[in-house]
């Protein structure tokens, strides 16, 4: 007996590197205000990224993973999701999280070493059900299947979306989650931010398959590759995957091909393992310039607007930094206060011990 399975992966793209249209745009893209909004958010998170690195360099924040080059993936995914969907992020996901309600201040708090960064609301003011940033690789994918399983069980028209880097797709948890989502037809979308580098290991060494999207074949779900530097394509592919999940047709794997223009984190130096030619070439394909060029071509964006928006971004970022710095530190005993639903007696004793220690260390002042 022979079983034949054919899979073809074609990259979806609407705008080329210079912002020219390569195929008719989807109807929703006639709304140029929407595209301007995408652009503004991409510039905002890029401005934020630069500032966050500066804060780390000046000792005002801990190790930070830059999302430079991934703006179209993050803003595209975050903009396509419904407010009551659930997002299960990985660590390089600030842009998506911002679109989902976690502010720049929250991101600063998280990388600045405070758990308050993971306590945030949705854009509509409700307490968010989105997951916190996930640092262990790929474990978040199985959480998304669990969330999607709960949606399916309760008959809710909601979708769980998770993201992962190209390196993470080598991990068992990613494959286990994908497999389960296929077997159970879960309302789940997996987004691979394929930025070509897992710290120092290039995509070619990560996996022998020509595309990461085709990992979906083994799970029995559609796999789509999209130009991750083209936000029109990212948003469009995400919309379709979300709609498919919402209508009960199951999961989709989306591979967004981008490039990590930055170091892995502020603790990394990418010049040790990759050449400048490659990085320079990647800068020619980057997402922000591409959309700006398209908006210029449409006559809805110009240098004056650009300067004005960049100034506004600088102000917004500075306001977030000011808020972060003004918030100060969380009381040290908070490490006990959220541990269990209620404090056990032995823990209550340790909490008192720790407060006494903190008072001692602070010269008699707690907080």
């Amino acid at each position: 007996m022979t079983f034949t399975s054919k899979s073809t992966v074609t990259q979806v793209r609407y705008l080329d590197e210079d912002g020219n249209v390569v195929q008719p745009l989807p109807a929703w893209a006639d709304d140029l205000d929407k595209l301007i909004e995408f652009y503004k958010n991409m510039v905002l998170v890029r401005t934020y990224d630069k500032k966050a690195i500066a804060l780390q360099r000046t000792g005002q924040m801990g190790t930070y993973p830059s999302h430079l080059g991934a703006e179209a993936v993050g803003i595209g995914v975050g903009s396509a999701m419904a407010v009551d969907d659930v997002y299960v992020p990985y660590y390089r996901d600030m842009p998506t999280m911002m679109m989902r309600g976690a502010t720049m201040t929250h991101n600063l708090l998280y990388w600045g070493g405070s758990e308050r960064g993971s306590y945030f609301n949705r854009p509509d003011g409700q307490l968010s059900e989105d997951f916190p940033i996930c640092v262990p690789i790929a474990t978040q994918c199985t959480h998304a299947t669990g969330v999607a399983g709960a949606f399916k069980l309760r008959g809710e028209k909601r979708v769980a979306v998770t993201a992962i880097g190209d390196g993470g797709t080598s991990k068992g948890d990613f494959l286990e989650a994908l497999n389960c989502a296929g077997a159970w037809q879960l309302p789940c979308v997996f987004v691979i931010n394929n930025n070509q580098w897992a710290i120092s290991v290039p995509r070619a060494i990560q996996c022998g398959a020509p595309t990461l999207a085709q990992k979906a074949v083994g799970a029995g779900i559609p796999g789509v590759q999209v130009d991750g530097n083209d936000i029109v394509a990212v948003y469009d592919v995400m919309q379709k995957a979300l709609e498919r999940a919402r209508s009960g047709k199951g999961a989709t794997l989306v591979e967004a091909v981008s490039y990590r223009l930055s170091d892995h984190t502020t603790a990394d130096d990418a010049t040790r393992y990759r050449g400048s030619d490659e990085v320079n070439a990647a800068w020619k394909r980057e997402p922000v310039k591409r959309l700006r060029q398209y908006l210029h071509n449409q006559g809805v964006w110009n240098e004056d607007k650009e300067v004005a928006w960049q100034n506004e971004c600088n102000q917004k970022v500075q306001a977030a930094v000011d808020e972060y710095l003004a918030l100060g530190k969380e009381p040290p005993e908070s490490m006990f206060d959220y541990h269990f639903e209620s404090l056990s007696e032995p823990l209550a004793g340790q909490r008192e011990e720790m407060i006494a220690k903190a008072m001692r260390m602070q010269g008699g002042h707690n907080g």
Binding site: P132, T142, F151, G172, Y338, E341
Partner: protein
């Protein structure tokens, strides 16, 4: 009132809680039609349907993470690992995710989940089916570790574990799954977590144990009584958080302590109990603390497992050594 064995009590508790709360779901390998390899989940799928009784793909890491995702949505997943020895692929999920979620989100996301696993040795099982590694989990902040020692304890503690809003590791001593039958009323009454139970009062020495070893400890206590030694027997039940107060109160009365556990000796739960008693009641002890435990070796295959196992005689010898060393 029905007489049931431990595994039947687990099944009874699952039936009760799934009927009481529609948020309770069960998941694991072979738990649906097959009712689990030990039949803990038998009948659940017929009664509650495959949507709430889920056969998962064969992937323990997935089971760990699925439970996290489901619990984050207010479901109360009760996940079965077929054996404690198979739980290691899920350790990252349990330690890095389940145990930390409430704390890292400042209470925004909480995980009311239970991870169940049969554990312990001496049923002539193959390799990796006999481990007793409760100390690994007890060491992780954010997890409760609960081990029943009898059918009644299994029923009441499992109800409590499922109703807990924090993650619980629920380890079932499979050696006594079917060997002991007790009358257990299916009344939905949970036993308290975080509390140790005094099974037999005594005045000369305190014996602390948990899980299957409680049975040998009780046998030893009876034999000691024949020899004029009055032993107080404590079933720890919740390993973490540790009910040190009950132990201290007993030790202050008897002046002597012997800890009995199946797990390897070093760096284990027994060591923790000994350390806490030393910290808080050293000068009230009449003798050094004794431990009767498994060895610090890989659990042998079944031809030699009886030499690893703790028998009542071993406990008698351990207790007598403590008695002889008394000041």
């Amino acid at each position: 009132m029905a007489k049931v064995c431990l595994i039947e009590a687990v099944n009874m508790a699952l039936h009760h809680e799934m009927a009481r709360d529609e948020n309770v779901v069960c998941l694991g390998e072979d738990i649906g039609t097959n009712g689990g390899v030990f039949r803990a989940t038998v009948g659940l799928k017929d009664k509650f349907g495959f949507k709430r009784v889920m056969d998962t793909p064969l992937a323990e890491g997935l089971i760990g993470g699925l439970s996290v995702g489901m619990a984050s949505q207010g479901l109360r997943p009760v996940a079965e690992f077929q054996f404690q020895g198979f739980i290691f692929p899920a350790m990252e999920q349990i330690i890095c995710q389940a145990a930390r979620m409430r704390s890292r989100t400042r209470g925004r996301l909480t995980l009311p989940l239970v991870y169940r696993a049969p554990f312990g040795g001496f049923i002539h099982a193959p390799e990796h089916h006999s481990e007793s590694v409760e100390a690994l989990f007890a060491h992780v902040p954010g997890l409760r570790v609960v081990i029943p020692s009898s059918p009644a304890r299994a029923y009441g503690l499992l109800l409590a574990a499922i109703r807990s809003n924090d993650p619980v590791m629920f380890f079932e001593p499979k050696r006594i799954y079917r060997t002991v039958k007790h009358e257990v009323e299916d009344n939905g009454v949970a036993l308290p977590l975080d509390v140790a139970f005094i099974l037999k009062p005594g005045t000369d020495i305190t014996l602390v144990s948990w899980g299957a070893s409680v049975n040998e400890t009780l046998i030893a206590a009876e034999k000691l009584a024949d020899e004029g030694i009055s032993a107080e027997v404590i079933d720890l039940a919740t390993i973490k958080p540790l009910d040190i107060d009950t132990i201290l109160k007993s030790v202050r009365k008897t002046g002597r302590l012997c800890i009995v556990h199946e797990a390897a000796k070093s760096f284990g739960v027994g060591a923790e109990i000994a350390a806490q008693v030393s910290e808080q009641a050293l000068w009230e002890l009449k003798a050094p603390i004794g431990r009767v435990t498994g060895y610090d070796v890989t659990m042998p295959y079944y031809q030699n497992e009886k030499y690893y196992q703790i028998h009542p005689e071993d406990i008698l010898l351990g207790v007598k050594k403590v008695m002889e060393q008394s000041a």
